[in-house]
Symmetry: D2
Subunit: 353 residues, 4 copies
């Protein structure tokens, strides 16, 4: 059985391959296995080390990938000069410290969403990355989702007309976080990053309502309203207390309307040629309706996390700013912060400057 | 062909039948044909006259029911002493004047939802009905819907545990009203009457956000939050600008959760044996989940409008207060008013006293 | 209250209006109320008499339409020379005798599907109608369904390419017939009439499998295969024993595929730009796939039964052959007969000549 | 970064671990990556070698799992005495020869469904495995699917009453096989193995209809009928030419009915408390219906392929016959053969002895 392929032979464990980005992963919880699997699939990346405080979690990893070094100390990863880039997939409260250390150790850094626990922290990370000349990227996965990108493309094309409002519902049962963050910090980064991607700029302000049912003081149901220039509205409903999982976004514009249901296997997007428009020729207040075809455009599905991992590696290699850079991360956190503020003030409109 | 059935023979047009409630209908627009059809099906009711300003609408009616008198003057109905009861299915702004005249003419009155354009008007109608000793009923159709009643029954049984929140989505394309009322006055009476029916008392207060896209100053998209004693929350999303029709209510409680989708043909209600609960025995903040069966109880479907028409006739005959009496109508209008107020004040929480 | 509209005044009960087709209906069972309602809506038709052996059924009718004469004797209708046309909505076994008598009494005749209990009976009715110079029409309602007609139009346009096969599923719980006919005679006339409408000619032959579970000797589950020239196939699955109601037809062609789900409220038809095609340039056996957009064309929905009633009246008035004439009825019955034959012979292919 | 976990250290590539079953995989096509992933997850299994004629396919594997030996020669695997068991995931036509060689080389063998290209081949493999005292298992994955097992359990409990029939629809676009096998050999092994599992014995006979649209002589659409003792029926519709993917099985019995939709994410199984039953007390032919609740039992989902891989390893270690042993594979192939025969004879009922 001599015929081991050449590629396999060359692959001495932990040996440096030219052009390959060597990765360390910090945090191997719920999302960790997905990150490892997707990073392993990127041709020019190599996962060389993973750290987690909980060694039980690492066991399954060691059986599958005996060549990956496992550690309970993230410092082992920062100190290893053979590691080029670090992925941080830990609770939000630790993002800042870990990302800071990683950047200061000379690593490129990818942080799971949200980038950090405050805008101030985000700003500091952006500044450190700038000084260190390292890539800082945040894991707004949905901005790499082909369905989200398809709707972006349709919006940019003008086919839908003038945007009126976006409504997003992201509810399911759990998963309550152990770090005391509410449902907004857990789920809404997805909606917010998608909405900012589609609209292309920040809202003028934010209002939010929230309520805590299971844990005192930690909202598990929330409603967020973003007011954009030109009267454009976005509304987000997130919940950890729902009988069925829903991931549904509706985009209403003056000419057509779009539906994006992320749980649909076959028709994730539908563009409805439907609209209501004021009849300006009528003496009376009359609204005309158009009811046309509904089109579900074919979208070539690629796993968003895979696309995101590839983009991180490409950004490192090209030195170009990633699509979801530190600024993008800070924008989302700005809205999360304002939502919390608004909830505390009974839904007051928090102006963003 | 002598064999015309006996019942048919007896039926001289407009002849008084003992025990039969003779009805006049004012307004034969979108909803009118449904009212006529359902009232005709009530054994002890008889539609004897219909009025509408638009005689074209009455044409189709005359062909089908040659014995029904048609008129463009509602006064013809008020003056006709052979008419016992009046159904008002006109724009909201006219409800008060028409209902008042009808009551003062000695008729029992059924008014389509919402009862009137303000709480003050509602109060006045309740007072007149009391003095006139006539039945005053409002058309909160959903309170006669077997699916809504089934959930009521389940809630009362305690099976779901302690109620946390109710979320209601009622959106579709149009129909914009010609009388300048916003989407809240058009659609939300349904949600509000259902929610009050389920919860059994008034909220402490109301907040609302709204936005106008098609007609200046007339909200076509709105979000309403009702805060009930004990931290119970209800949220309502209504819209005239949506690509697809949705009528979906979610009831989340401490033990189980219920879904009610009025557009489902076969499984309108689902009870999910699912919950999230704080583990009080754990040192850490830990939430436990229960994921059990989902049951769609069989509901014997009867057309709600038919049930409602029957209830109106029964209430007249028995002299008992109808389920959806003037007070019930006033409660819903109170919340509609407060919603409008809150929108004008940027979502401020309007306390109900 | 003098303002009764003019039309209403003119309408003396049972008085002849010029140009109006006066109708008698025989059989007021499950389908009867729908027929009366839809015929009443046709401007130039008037239902003047209804007969049913069961007088209880007629009671509700008499309350609603006191001017319609009710009888337990169908002869009353045949003998009434003021009646122009007769609708027969009775069990299949009686169709032939009733339609024959009606035609011989000089009436135009509409028979609910299937036209008669055998091809021989159909032939005889066609011949009598020809001699009597009366319109004979069969109630293949789906041929008046806008969704079915839309697919017809798409098929004729060539957009789908060459037709491969049609698959139809029509299953639900019940309703078992009291006249001993199997599920094929009850449900399959719909599928067969639609398929013949779409394909435009008769199959070369028929095979069928059936099984009886609830009533001995009366198939309640059946599968029918129609073989058309050019290798085109149609398959029909009908059942009275199914947990959920399904009405789903799939049209597979060389370029595109169509789905027609009659129970969908909003997207009854979908055209999928999908196909599998043999790659003739490849050395190996290779099949290429195309996965494009899915389009749900807007179909302006009109109640098929209403369209059908109008067409019957129009055919009488114009003297033109109706779309679903006696021949159309005979074709469907030919296939029903062949299906029964094939079941008895274990699925043998019954050649139609 | 010395903290590599102990487990990882012990794992010298290709070193024998006591109690661990060392696996070789032959064929790394469409299904291969899933097999490797799931086998890697079984604690007491280790994938040590993979062979495929196409070296390009193996490349991705080598990057991820540098310790797995890769080869284009399956003989390398047969000859390696350190390998305990072989998984065969190649085209059907090669199953017999490869499985035979593997067994004769002293390996335990797992063959993807269907077991072999004929009953004769299956018999021979069973015999060789018996003589060699090795485990022979076939990959009827659905027999390890928790939803299928849940329905089994419900059927055994008697809750549904007497079984009437099973209807199965398994259609999608493609994937045409390169080895000249028709859609029955590709898709129907799933339906057949599930049905045999549920019913618990072989049918008396088989009829089938099939048609070829894309490739001459290779049926891409087929219908199979299995007749079981006691009048129980099963019907299978498989197709490579369908606009939408469907995997739906219906189980109809005398008391209740079950639906199993494998594409549903949340409610894969529904048990409908619905039935039609002959009223034996009635003089007339009367059928009574029961329409009760619909229950979707919670099923704890585990990946079927993972369960299957574990069962293979367990069977090897315990020496017990696997659930889906050679006999089970032969039974399915017997029905596939009979289906082909029946199609060639125009749907003739092929009696199984």
């Amino acid at each position: 059985m001599a015929m081991t392929l050449k590629e396999a032979k060359k692959r001495k464990p932990n040996a440096r391959k030219s052009g390959v980005v060597r990765m360390g992963i910090i945090g191997y919880g719920y999302w960790g296995p997905n990150l490892v699997r997707n990073l392993q699939d990127v041709e020019s990346a190599e996962v060389v080390a993973v750290s987690d405080l909980n060694s039980a979690r690492l066991k399954t990893l060691s059986r599958k990938f005996p060549s990956i070094r496992l550690t309970s100390e993230c410092k082992d990863i920062f100190r290893d000069s053979s590691i080029d880039a670090v992925v941080i997939a830990t609770p939000v409260s630790t993002h800042f410290m870990l990302a800071k250390q990683a950047l200061l150790s000379g690593k490129h850094v990818f942080v799971e969403k949200p980038l950090a626990a405050s805008v101030q922290e985000c700003r500091a990370l952006i500044e450190i990355a700038r000084t260190q000349k390292k890539t800082l990227m945040v894991g707004h996965t949905f901005e790499y989702n082909p369905a989200v990108l398809k709707i972006s493309e349709i919006l940019r094309s003008g086919e839908l007309g003038r945007l009126h409002y976006i409504d997003s519902v992201r509810v399911n049962l759990g998963r309550y976080q152990s770090d005391g963050r509410n449902v907004i910090w857990d789920l809404a980064p997805h909606d917010i990053s998608i909405i900012l991607h589609w609209i292309g700029h920040m809202p003028l302000g934010v209002s939010a309502w929230g309520q805590s049912f299971v844990q005192k003081g930690i909202e598990d149901v929330a409603f967020i309203r973003l007011g954009f220039p030109g009267g454009i509205l976005a509304h987000i409903h997130v919940s950890w207390l729902a009988p069925a999982k829903l991931r549904r976004m509706t985009v209403v514009a003056s000419q057509k309307m779009a539906l994006y249901d992320d749980l649909e296997n076959f028709e994730k997007i539908k563009i409805a040629d439907r609209s209501a428009q004021l009849n300006v020729n009528s003496d009376q207040l009359r609204v005309d309706y158009r009811l046309g075809d509904i089109v579900s455009p074919h979208v070539d599905f690629k796993e968003p996390l895979g696309q995101e991992c590839e983009h991180f590696i490409e950004s490192i290699r090209s030195g170009k700013k990633p699509l979801t850079d530190g600024e993008s991360g800070a924008r989302v956190v700005r809205i999360l912060e304002a939502s919390d503020q608004s909830i505390k003030q009974g839904g007051k409109f928090i102006r963003l400057t």
